[in-house]
């Protein structure tokens, strides 16, 4: 099975999105951004995780769905502590902007598989976020369900707390989602 982006390019070599993903990882290693506030916050998260103070939720079981959607939404970045992302790493979410949203939902997709992060349980609701964004104080442990490979992390911002059916419905209606890539080693 060929990487979809290569099929869309019509070439078997690395696609532009693949090259960009590789470059992002290279730069993260050799020329990290000087975002001291966020770096300090992530450092604090890492320290808290190491000290056992961070609330860490196991990723919820897989849920196979069909997801569609698009639109303009706020943004987020993800970081694995420690890097690179692997089973046992803690996935930290940094909400770079919220567009006024007060709640955040996120899950990882790979092929037909979906792994929920927020909400973590079938009856739970999306995560309250700090005004204007910032690093969430809840990290996600990457468990064995995160087999090595490329994942797309999709985030949904909302004004009100949403449960999974509401999130699915919002996506099905073409609601706004933000995507990030994560490579699990």
């Amino acid at each position: 099975m060929t990487e979809p982006s290569r099929l869309l390019a019509g070439r078997r070599g690395l696609s532009r999105p693949e090259k960009e993903a590789i470059l992002a990882r290279v730069l993260a290693g050799v020329a990290p951004r000087r975002r001291w506030g966020r770096r300090l916050a992530l450092g604090a998260i890492a320290a808290a995780a190491a000290a056992g103070l961070l609330v860490v939720l196991p990723a919820s079981p897989r849920d196979e769905l069909t997801a569609r959607g698009g639109g303009r939404v706020a943004g987020f970045e993800v970081t694995c502590v420690p890097a690179p992302c692997a089973a046992g790493s803690k996935l930290v979410f940094d909400l770079t902007a919220t567009d006024g949203a007060a709640y955040f939902a996120a899950f990882a997709s790979r092929g037909d598989t979906r792994i929920w992060y927020f909400p973590n349980a079938p009856r739970a609701r999306s995560q309250a976020v700090p005004p204007g964004g910032g690093v969430l104080d809840t990290g996600i442990v990457l468990g064995p369900e995160h087999t090595p490979g490329d994942y797309v992390i999709e985030g949904v911002f909302s004004a009100e707390p949403l449960d999974r059916p509401a999130i699915r419905a919002r996506i099905e209606r073409g609601g706004a989602i933000v995507t990030r890539r994560m490579v699990v080693r």
Binding site: M1, T2, E3, P4, S5, L7, L8, A9, G10, R12, G13, L14, S15, R16, P17, E18, K19, E20, A21, I22, L23, R25, V26, L27, G29, V30, A31, R33, E64, T66, A67, R68, G69, G70, G71, R72, V73, G75, S109, R110, G111, D112, T113, T147, P148, G149, D150, V152, E154, A176, I177, V178, T179, V183
Partner: protein, 202 residues
């Protein structure tokens, strides 16, 4: 001629670790290095052949390792801007691949580390799986809305950055990112419907 030829500002920015300069150098050479890693090479001095990356993830990992080593602060400082940079990157790739080959199959002669090497030619793309996937992809793209078809052309075929594609489409970069994810997701669904995408793909 290297990407730094007659471009002292680029070399200076590269040595400082400027992300824009590093990106410029990376995109100048990444296709060449990826081709080497994908196709493999032979070592005429010993007759040994090192096969290309066996899967997409290995290919991406090796390419990442090559540039991570080449872009490390000490390596940037040591580069004079004159020596052929492509040959330097290829040598890093070659050594990484020899190390990997030795780790899995100790038939690579130990004295092959510094000799010349010949890059294997690209294998002809005639396998039926690729052709079937491409046919299904073409049908899928043909059914997309005009905006998404243009996105496919700009981002995947022409390899524009998200910023460049956004400017061409008259939308935000975030919109491009969202549409791109939608197109890839839709293609996976189309391939699965056609029996060309397996669930729980490794």
């Amino acid at each position: 001629m290297t990407v730094f030829a007659e471009n002292r500002p680029l070399l200076d920015a590269f040595r400082r670790g400027d992300r824009t300069a590093l990106s410029t150098v990376y995109f100048h050479y990444v296709d060449d290095i990826a081709a080497l890693v994908r196709n493999g090479f032979s070592l005429p001095a010993t007759g040994a052949r090192v096969r290309g990356a066996s899967d997409d993830q290995t290919l991406r990992d090796i390419v990442q390792d090559v540039f991570t080593r080449a872009f490390a602060p000490r390596a940037r400082d040591a580069y004079d801007g004159i020596r052929p940079y492509r040959a330097y990157l290829r040598r890093i790739a070659r050594n990484l691949m020899i190390d990997r080959a030795r780790a899995s199959d100790a038939t690579i002669p130990l004295d092959s580390g510094d000799g010349e090497f010949v890059i294997e030619p690209e294998a002809p793309e005639v396998d039926s799986a690729w052709l079937a996937e491409r046919r299904e992809t073409a049908a899928y793209v043909a059914g997309l809305a005009p905006e998404l078809q243009r996105l496919v052309k700009l981002r995947f075929e022409d390899e524009l950055s998200q910023d460049e594609a956004a400017a061409a489409l008259g939308v935000s970069r975030r919109r491009v990112r969202t549409l791109e994810a939608r197109v890839e997701r839709g293609l996976r669904h189309a391939l699965r419907r056609a029996g060309l995408w397996q669930k729980h793909r490794p």
